[in-house]
Symmetry: C2
Subunit: 346 residues, 2 copies
């Protein structure tokens, strides 16, 4: 197996810089669109053969060094008692948002992580089998702060005012909710490692909703607890807190092997703040796929230079692959990362 | 007139730390809701007496040290040829988004800044008259990068993919658009100073859409040009680039007298990066109005301490006043800022 990604996560010596892309399995791929034409989003997530097929597509098309499991973070908490709906064009939503102490009390943390989520582990077993001797599989979950944001709002939101009001005005309900989501998330990630995931990632897409002080008291403790809880799986753990630019020092202590950096910071500066105890993942501007090949090259070289001082560097975008990205440009970038970093290592 | 706000902007000695709040004129105020019950949003913006009334409300209710003119950044570019609509619950949108070179070419930069915007200056003349001997009036505009984002998307967007694609794939159209919006914005701000605005602010709500490198090439040059252009009005200029956490060093050179800091950074750290050439504005967590009086006090003390090393400090939130904020808590925070900073100055 090409284990370069895993080696970079652990800060071991590599012959080239490994690369994968957030949202590499997605709408910009014609192969993906073809699958989604005969299924809907939630059905695709919940049908192991389809989820596995979509997960593996970018490995074939792009030649990336890791597969990220195709799933949606909103599905995970359905066994906790959340009622999930999906409307085309509007995205997933919950019809029973968590707003009160009683709502939080009613939430279940299932003893068996397979309860209601067996399709995930089944899909990952298929992925692991089909990917054998190729590249590692990354399992993932939403970080509890981000997952709870959706649970309280009932879906996406511009202001997340209900959620933030709960966090600041009703700390007891907030901590009941976060505690339960965290325990369930740890069980969920542990079961993914058992099913064949070779690395585990926590996506904290809404980490930037809190400033540094509140991030440290209201978000980070739960991330730390989950990571401590799943550490004995032995697989590398990646944490990505989008927008939490003022909290890197604290994040470096969260226990993850790899810290994802978004495009909002200069990678070299982020590496300085994180120190030498962790590897980094990131962080090229995602919209470079709309630029010339020459410009893509320039940006790859710069991003590789920015990651050079880190313990290890997993090349990635600073956010997901944009919709409408030309596939040949995406593939070209993957090649450029491999070629440039190989030449440097030689 | 209580000119403490203007003195802090210029880094002059003050007897207490002045405070005003982004979105201080807004939905959380019952007085505002009463006015909006007999008008719609765009009509309120476009009727000088109503806009002036709403602008002055928070001065009466909260005792803040500056009034910010009540307006919406999307209205400014209507005279450029943008077709603005407003739908309750959906916000403002343009039916003729700027997507192509021809679209950008068609945009007009009116010679007379009063063309189509006379209601703004008329409202500001009323405000200046009614506020006389009380507090300064802040005029404002959206920064060109943020205004152009709406013009290209046709309204708000989650991904701004059309806009970002234009910025990266079609630099000629992007620069035509940004150049025209910048010239119009400078004319607009200059005319506000003539109408009675005592300070001018550029709101760059989408500054965080670009990483540091692209911010410096695609956004900052236009901000600099506008500020250089309006500098001879003699009024203090404030720039607020929400989310541009990696670009503070560059932002400190933009020419503004005051740099707004959002809640995503520790204020003291931001002051260190900005240096001693500018004053700062910010940056307490906006959702503290849902917390206890004691917690509000603690946060105010911390934020005042964070701003202490700056040339001057205008106290503000790190983002707008949240919907549903209890008015008595907002008023209490304003009082706490005055009392605490007065005690320190004494």
């Amino acid at each position: 197996m090409n284990d370069t990604f895993l080696r970079a996560c652990r800060g071991e010596k590599v012959d080239f810089t490994p690369v994968w892309l957030m949202r590499q399995a997605g709408r910009y791929l014609p192969q993906y669109q073809k699958v989604l034409a005969r299924s809907d989003f939630l059905t695709a997530c919940r049908t192991p053969e389809i989820a596995a097929e979509i997960t593996i597509q970018p490995v074939d098309v792009l030649g990336v060094d890791a597969a990220i499991f195709y799933s949606d973070i909103t599905t995970t908490v359905v066994p906790m008692g959340m009622d999930l709906h999906y409307e085309a064009g509007k995205g997933p939503s919950y019809s029973n948002p968590v707003r009160t102490a009683a709502d939080a009390e009613r939430l279940i943390v299932p003893d068996d992580p397979a309860e209601g989520l067996g399709f995930v582990y089944e899909a990952q077993r298929i992925c692991a089998r089909e990917l054998e001797n190729r590249v590692p599989l990354i399992g993932f979950a939403g970080a509890p702060f981000t997952v709870a944001a959706y649970m309280v709002e009932g879906g996406g939101s511009h202001s997340f005012v209900n959620y933030r009001r709960m966090a600041f005005a009703d700390p007891a309900t907030y901590s009941t909710l976060m505690d339960k989501v965290s325990r369930h998330t740890a069980n969920y990630l542990r079961a993914q490692a058992a099913a064949g995931a070779n690395a585990l990632m926590l996506f904290d897409s809404h980490a930037g909703l809190l400033g540094p002080q509140d991030y440290e008291s209201l978000n980070l403790p739960y991330v730390k607890r989950i990571i401590a809880d799943i550490k004995d799986t032995g697989v590398p753990i990646i944490y990505f807190g989008l927008g939490a630019h003022g909290s890197l020092g604290a994040i470096s202590e969260c226990g993850a092997d790899v810290i994802g950096i978004d495009y909002g910071l200069h990678l070299g500066e982020a590496v300085k703040e994180l120190g030498s105890g962790v590897s980094v993942q990131g962080n090229v501007e995602p919209h470079i796929f709309f630029q010339t090949r020459r410009e893509i090259e320039r940006r790859v070289v710069e991003t590789l230079a920015g990651g050079k001082a880190a313990r290890g560097h997993v090349f990635n975008l600073g956010h997901g692959v944009p919709q409408h990205s030309p596939v040949d440009q995406v593939r070209a970038m993957v090649d450029i990362v491999h070629e440039t970093s190989q030449a440097r290592a030689a």
